[in-house]
């Protein structure tokens, strides 16, 4: 063998090995590619801009700060401990610099992109996984909210992990996966209470998957419930002991925000027909809420007035706000449903992200003295700011909202119709549930959509895959190719344990 030939064959052998590795591990390569794209995108952004903070950030950060510095773990009544615990971990690992937290959140964001790739693989196949993963990896709102001291990044990661686990459990019917799914749903609930919504979905999936026999179905559902309870019950017990309130969270204030601040037209107190209340504090409370709604006061302002004027403790304030809001909703159910649907659509559509708006939000935030020094200013250089802004323009989902809604709907319908894609129904229901419940309980805050973005991306990519298959089938049926009725039948992402391909 001459030197030249040897050299060429050596290079060819190297290329052949790389190609055969790629063919042998296509999922691993896809996952790696999605991770690399997401990570590069995030690293290019993360240190150019100072961390974003909103008015809510302090209510999560202070308990974490106090926990790390040996103080109490004082958490607001409506807050759950998941995110403050994450913040405390970051403070312990990275120190007091807030950039450590956002770096960790960006890493989680890259992890979310990887999980989205897996979720797509488990529901509609590899292509939808890669497309969904890349969409998440390059999404401007996800990147932006990973840069906030807010729950979205962590919640999005845990939520997607829970969906991946439940989808994997759906295909493999493994007891460990059902239990892990329950644990992750519990964890998601401890990060944001709306995560509890996944519990009925998880139970439903556990009950419906596999042969229709009650005992195995109950056992699977029991595992999901047990996993959920392991994490949520201790916190509920703590709330019972501390506040005599056996729930993981409260929603009195959020309901008032939804009905009195974001919505118009709810009547809390009608002076001409005052309601007869058994509780003497209820009538003045209605008046205060009505005044707050008329003056467009925030839920915080209304809660403060209730506390001061009626001399109530936080638990009582929450209970009375909840009752007043529910009364108003019961009196005007159509208005509530109409408003909820309107808000849900607004949340689904999202908004275009402009970095300047988020950077300016920092100016409105006042932190307590002991942590104020941690709030650093804007970016150091205008060049960095412009570069970060350019990055956010790569993919803004809000620009394609109508298309995304159509593809999402197609994906959901395809998941219902095609047995092999049925796990996609779980993902679709989770998205619909999260958005509708957020709209019903909280109001039209666009950021409530972002944790569901990975699932939306997967469903939309699934819609593309379904349309592609349909087009292929149509071409085969009516075009030049020989007719094949089986062309529409997709290959399942993963065969179910104990079942043949196609389930």
């Amino acid at each position: 063998m001459t030197g030249d030939t040897a050299l060429t064959s050596n290079w060819q052998a190297c290329l052949r090995r790389s190609w055969s590795f790629l063919r042998a591990h296509p999922d691993a390569c896809a996952l790696l590619a999605v991770c690399l794209v997401a990570l590069s995108f995030r690293l290019s952004f993360s240190l150019r801009v100072a961390p974003f903070v909103s008015k809510d950030s302090q209510s999560y950060f202070l308990p974490a700060w106090d926990l790390v510095h040996g103080g109490d773990f004082q958490l607001g009544l409506r807050r759950t401990p998941g995110y403050p615990a994450f913040l405390a971990l970051c403070l312990m690992l990275f120190g007091e610099d807030l950039r450590g937290i956002t770096l960790a959140q960006h890493l989680l964001g890259a992890g979310t992109a990887a999980l989205t790739c897996l979720l797509g693989r488990l529901t509609f196949g590899r292509l939808s996984g890669i497309v969904g993963g890349l969409l998440v990896g390059l999404s401007a709102p996800l990147l932006t909210y990973e840069h906030y001291l807010l729950t979205e990044a962590v919640f999005g990661f845990v939520l997607t992990a829970a969906l991946v686990t439940l989808a994997a459990a759906w295909h493999r019917s493994s007891a460990r996966l059902w239990l892990l799914g329950g644990l992750l749903v519990g964890l998601a609930s401890l990060v944001r209470p709306i995560g509890q919504l996944l519990l009925p979905l998880g139970l439903l999936a556990a009950a419906l998957v596999g042969p229709r026999q009650p005992r195995p179905a109950l056992a699977r559902a029991g595992l999901v419930l047990a996993g959920f309870a392991i994490l949520v019950v201790p916190w509920t017990i703590r709330n019972q002991l501390a506040y005599h309130l056996a729930t993981a969270s409260t929603f009195g204030r959020t309901l008032i925000a939804r009905t009195a601040y974001y919505d118009h037209g709810f009547v809390f107190y009608d002076a001409e027909r005052p309601p007869e209340d058994a509780d003497p504090r209820r009538a003045p409370a209605r008046r205060i809420v009505q005044q707050g709604a008329d003056r467009r006061e925030s839920d915080g302002g209304i809660a403060q007035r209730l506390r001061q004027e009626l001399d109530l403790d936080p638990v009582e304030v929450n209970a009375i706000m909840r009752d007043v809001a529910i009364d108003a909703i019961i009196r005007q159910p159509v208005h509530f449903v109409e408003g909820t649907l309107r808000f849900a659509l607004r949340i689904f559509n999202g908004v275009e992200i402009r970095i300047r708006d988020h950077d300016n939000e920092r100016r409105d935030v006042v932190w307590e003295d002991r942590v104020r020094m941690l709030l650093v200013g804007g970016p150091q250089s205008e060049d960095d700011f412009r570069a970060a802004s350019r990055l956010l323009n790569w993919y803004q989902p809000a620009r394609y909202a109508p298309l995304q809604l159509v593809l999402f709907s197609v994906g959901l319908v395809a998941a219902v119709l095609v047995p092999a894609w049925r796990a996609g129904v779980l993902v679709g229901l989770a998205v619909v549930g999260l958005i509708v419940v957020s709209a019903a309980l909280d109001g039209p805050q666009e950021r409530y959509r972002y944790p569901a973005d990975p699932a939306i991306g997967v469903l939309a990519a699934g819609g593309v895959v379904a349309l592609g298959r349909l087009g292929g089938w149509g071409w085969a049926r009516y075009g030049k190719l020989p007719t094949s009725a089986t062309a529409l039948t997709p290959q399942p992402p993963l065969p179910r344990e104990g079942e043949g391909v196609g389930g």
């Binding site: 150019r48 990275f94 020094m373 150091q380």
Partner: protein, 510 residues
């Protein structure tokens, strides 16, 4: 339950892929330590940082590259690239440098794995991952942060190439060596080791020539553009400048020991400029001036170009050395030993040096990027100091260098371990050249730390295995076993078995 867990798919997968497990473990440990340090400590700079950061900032802002003759473009290019991609905050640069630190630890695992086996690779990787001196160097704006991973990567690629006979790996090793030379010119000293290592392993002329040609060719290709640029800009076809370095070694580090100007000998020199330069150098040697200061003065007063000045300084330094060769050799050996032993790197010293350098900083473009320590960083100083004090190779004193000598000897003695000889030769060459040309500058030992870890631990592992083998043989002999000698040879590490892995055909290699 435990048995079920151990036979679960992820565990089985890891059992099938121990190298992935090792790399992930090492990477996690290294990344955790660096994550804890990254935002706690202020940015470290030294007096030399300015000559890299200034040109890098200009380059990142599109103002071109204006480097002195002494500096090579690798590090400023890297800094400019990081600034363009990650942002102009120097914390981004530190992030990238610590990322390279994690990579160094993983590469050390690979180097140990492919020379002495998995346990040595894992331990060496972990030791490199928690090496406080390396963490401090990654937190400093200086070449070592890039040079260390490049050297380790080049050696890992070369060792892998020696084991597999893969031509692409030889080419990669050459390219990495070139990148290392463009970061710190001392890496050029490693180039002659490539053919030597290939001959040691292949023991045949034809494949040795072929592989060496590929590696050296790739090295040449990577440094060629810079050499051509140097020729056009400075009329000097070199990477780096030996003159300034040698004068720094002889005039500053050996203050007053070398004579550049001896009236009785030199007054007859017909070259007036040379005579004047001698006097300037002698004066500087008595004052302990830096090579850079002498270079600037000579250029200004003699009206020479940078390259001419450097050549003049080099010639005079060599002449001075030749006047006292014994002293030079003795001084070099002393420095070599001191450099091998290393010194404990202290967090406080780095912080103080950074404060001084920041005050003396002259470059306007880059000055704004240097921010003093924040109150949070001040509060975190004890934690930061503790983090970099977890482990430093110098804690072990002479043990590690001596074990490395043993490791080098063992690798030369046993054909299956011959690729490890490259690691030892590279380590001692780097130390010796640094001692000979510059002096005892503690940061010049950092590139050698991962190599010493691999060699030292390889020696320890061999000694342990050898002892265990002898004990076993003794027991068997006592038990009356006649043919105890039939036991497999001592130290049958994984590497020997793996050396039987099929090699890619290239240049008729074995």
């Amino acid at each position: 339950m435990i048995r079920r867990t151990l036979s679960s798919p992820p565990i089985l997968w890891l059992k099938r892929h121990p190298d992935v497990l090792g790399a992930v473990l090492v990477g996690l440990v290294a990344a955790t330590l660096r994550a804890a340090f990254l935002l706690r400590a202020p940015i470290f700079v030294t007096g030399d940082s300015e000559s890299y950061l200034g040109p890098a900032v200009d380059l990142a802002r599109g103002l071109g590259l204006d480097l002195s003759l002494k500096r090579t473009p690798g590090y400023p290019g890297f800094v400019a690239l990081v600034m363009s991609v990650l942002g102009q905050d120097l914390r981004s640069l530190l992030f990238a440098q610590h990322g390279l630190g994690v990579l160094t630890a993983i590469l050390t695992f690979g180097l140990g794995r492919w020379t002495f086996g998995w346990p040595v690779g894992l331990t060496a990787g972990l030791l490199t991952g928690i090496n406080g001196a390396l963490v401090l160097s990654e937190h400093t704006i200086l070449t070592e942060a890039l040079f260390v991973p490049l050297v380790v990567a080049a050696l890992t690629a070369l060792v892998s190439a020696l084991r597999t006979g893969s031509v692409p790996l030889y080419a990669l090793a050459g390219l990495l060596l070139g990148a290392a030379a463009l970061t710190r010119p001392v890496a050029q000293a490693l180039v002659p080791l490539v053919p030597l290592a290939v001959v040691l392993v292949e023991r045949r002329l034809r494949p040795s020539l072929g592989y060496s040609a590929v590696a050296i060719g790739a090295f040449g290709l990577s440094v060629l553009p810079w050499v051509l640029w140097s020729v056009s800009e400075h009329d000097s076809a070199t990477v780096g400048s030996l003159g300034q370095t040698l004068v720094g070694r002889t005039a500053r580090h050996d203050r007053g020991a070398f004579s550049y100007y001896v009236p009785a000998l030199d007054d007859g020199d017909p070259d007036v400029r040379r005579l004047y330069a001698r006097q300037v150098l002698q004066e500087a040697a008595e004052r302990g001036s830096s090579g850079k200061a002498i270079h600037t003065r000579l250029r200004r007063e003699l009206g020479l170009s940078a390259a001419e000045t450097d050549r003049l300084m080099r010639d005079l330094a060599i002449e001075a050395i030749l006047r006292r060769p014994g002293y030079y050799v003795q001084g070099t050996l002393q420095r070599f030993v001191r450099l091998s032993l290393g010194s404990v790197e202290r967090f406080g010293a780095y912080r103080n040096a950074a404060d001084v350098a920041r005050q003396r900083w002259e470059d306007d473009e880059s000055r704004d990027l240097l921010v003093p320590a924040s109150s949070a960083e001040e509060r975190a100083a004890p934690t930061s100091a503790a983090l970099v004090s977890l482990y430093q190779p110098s804690y072990l004193g002479a043990a590690l260098p001596l074990l490395s000598v043993v490791g080098l000897g063992l690798s030369l003695a046993r054909p299956a371990w011959r690729p490890a000889a490259l690691v030892g030769l590279a380590a001692f060459t780097l130390l010796f050249i640094s001692a000979a040309l510059v002096g005892n500058v503690s940061r010049y030992r950092f590139p050698v730390d991962p190599l010493f870890a691999v060699l030292g631990l390889g020696a320890v592992m061999t000694i342990i295995q050898g002892s265990a083998f002898n004990v076993q043989r003794l027991r068997l002999a006592r038990a009356g076993m006649r043919d105890a000698r039939e036991l497999p040879a001592t130290g049958a590490l994984n590497v020997e078995r793996e050396s039987e892995t099929p090699r890619v055909a290239g240049f008729g290699g074995r």
